[in-house]
């Protein structure tokens, strides 16, 4: 079961990163995305 959730986390992380690089002239969106990435990465690496 855990592996399914990790795949979902990885997928969401990829989408967040892609969106962050695509978004033009919206620094606040990019900062939001970066903050979300921290939590997703910590979970994907099974740290927190």
């Amino acid at each position: 079961m855990q592996i399914v959730y990790l795949i979902i986390v990885a997928l969401v992380l990829v989408l967040v990163v892609v969106n962050m690089f695509k978004k033009k002239d919206n620094l606040f969106f990019q900062i939001d995305a970066a903050l979300v990435m921290i939590t997703l990465l910590l979970r994907l690496l099974l740290i927190k």
Binding site: Q2, Y5, M20, F21, D25, Q30, A34, I38, I47
Partner: protein, 375 residues
């Protein structure tokens, strides 16, 4: 040379920021996996791992130490569970104090100081609680982790929407699936939390443990606080002990509800022959009315908002302006454990913990006086 678009540059810089933050936070979070040292005292005659009683725990974050303090004189036995909820530290500290200072005269004392070892490796989310707190001992300061109420989600994840207790069918909130004190009697092939519960249940069965006491803390506004919760089989023992304890502290005895499943005082009493008891002291860092939960507050138990709540009559315990400190909370636990041993008069013989500090001595000298010095 082609100029890099501004949004690509900012996104790249933010990725570097994310990487740095993940490293810094990762080091901090992973540091919780380092266990605080416990220094076995002169009474400790052996040590086992819980995986001996549930092999499915071997190599997992749920495996934990069992300290054995065998007097060598046949008699009754007592198992003390500390750290069922690692955010209720007086139970954990009391258990460590027993390991480091007690030398039983008759019977056997078993202590599992970190009953839910996995829950020591994380904090509860959104609580802003400290990772560690310190206690001053005769030979210097010692540090201890302030963990979570539940198993680390890294070790048991995801939670189900609804937690169905295996042996009763009782349904609870999904997050309770990681609460050790809702998992008894446990399952050999269940979740990590259920396996820990199963190991403890099997330990009690195999050693025919006479008395089991699970040490907890509760918020000062909770109804079951400064209390002994007893399975019906242990009610006589709890009541006898209460008569003695009432001379030095305000304390009550409550019956274990028959329809509340998964808890030690219910399931261990139903599924084993042990006399199952649970103790609660008042801890300000537990409740919903406190201010900042700092490492100092965990130890001092002092919180101005709880004091005000007490003035309004909103609490179920007397809450002085100086708070309810760790020493007083441990004094309650340790005095009661000693009294359970003194009051037991059953077929298993006697259990005598030997020379024990009194309630007043622990408060006067501080719990640090009954912990080993750091080495």
């Amino acid at each position: 040379m082609k100029k890099i678009p501004r949004h690509i540059l900012t996104a790249s810089l933010l990725c570097v920021f994310v990487a740095v933050m993940v490293v810094v936070l990762g080091i901090s979070f992973r540091s919780m996996k380092e266990a605080e040292p416990i220094y076995p005292g002169p009474g400790v005659t052996g040590q086992e791992m819980l995986s001996k009683y549930c092999p499915n725990l071997k190599g997992t974050a749920g495996d934990t130490e069992i300290y054995i303090l065998d007097s060598g004189v046949p008699g009754a036995s007592m198992l003390v569970l500390g750290g069922t909820h690692p955010n209720e530290p007086s139970g954990f500290i009391s258990a460590i104090s027993l390991i480091e200072t007690v030398k039983p005269v008759s019977g056997i004392l078993y202590v599992i100081p970190r009953a839910n070892a996995s829950a020591f490796t994380c904090n509860d989310p959104q609580e802003g609680s400290p990772q560690r707190f310190t206690i001053q001992t005769a030979g210097g300061e010692r540090w201890f982790r302030f963990g979570s109420r539940a198993t680390n989600p890294i070790d048991q994840w995801p939670d189900s929407e609804v937690y169905v207790h295996a042996s009763s069918g009782q349904t609870l909130s999904g997050s309770e699936i990681r609460n050790l004190n809702r998992a008894y009697p446990g399952r050999e092939d269940g979740t990590l939390t259920e396996r820990v519960a199963y190991g403890i249940t099997q330990f009690i069965k195999q050693h025919n443990v006479t008395i089991t006491v699970d040490l907890h803390e509760a918020s000062p506004e909770y109804t079951t606080v400064n209390a002994i919760v007893a399975h019906e089989d242990a009610m006589d023992l709890a009541t006898l002990s209460l008569w003695e304890l009432e001379d030095v502290m305000k304390i009550s005895v409550e019956a274990s509800p028959k329809n509340l499943h998964g808890l030690t005082h219910r399931e261990l009493g139903d599924y084993t022959d042990t006399l199952a008891l649970l103790m609660e002291t008042a801890n300000a860092s537990q409740g919903r009315l406190h201010g900042t939960v700092s490492a100092e507050m965990v130890v001092s138990g002092q919180d101005k908002f709880y004091y005000r709540a007490g003035q309004y009559g909103a609490l179920t315990v007397d809450y002085p302006e100086t708070g309810i400190g760790m020493s007083e909370r441990c004094a309650r636990h340790i005095s009661a454990l000693n009294e359970f041993c003194k009051s037991y008069d059953g077929p298993a013989g006697t259990i005598d913990l030997g020379e024990m500090p009194s309630y007043k001595e622990i408060i006067t000298n501080g719990i640090g006086a009954y912990l080993a010095s750091p080495k």
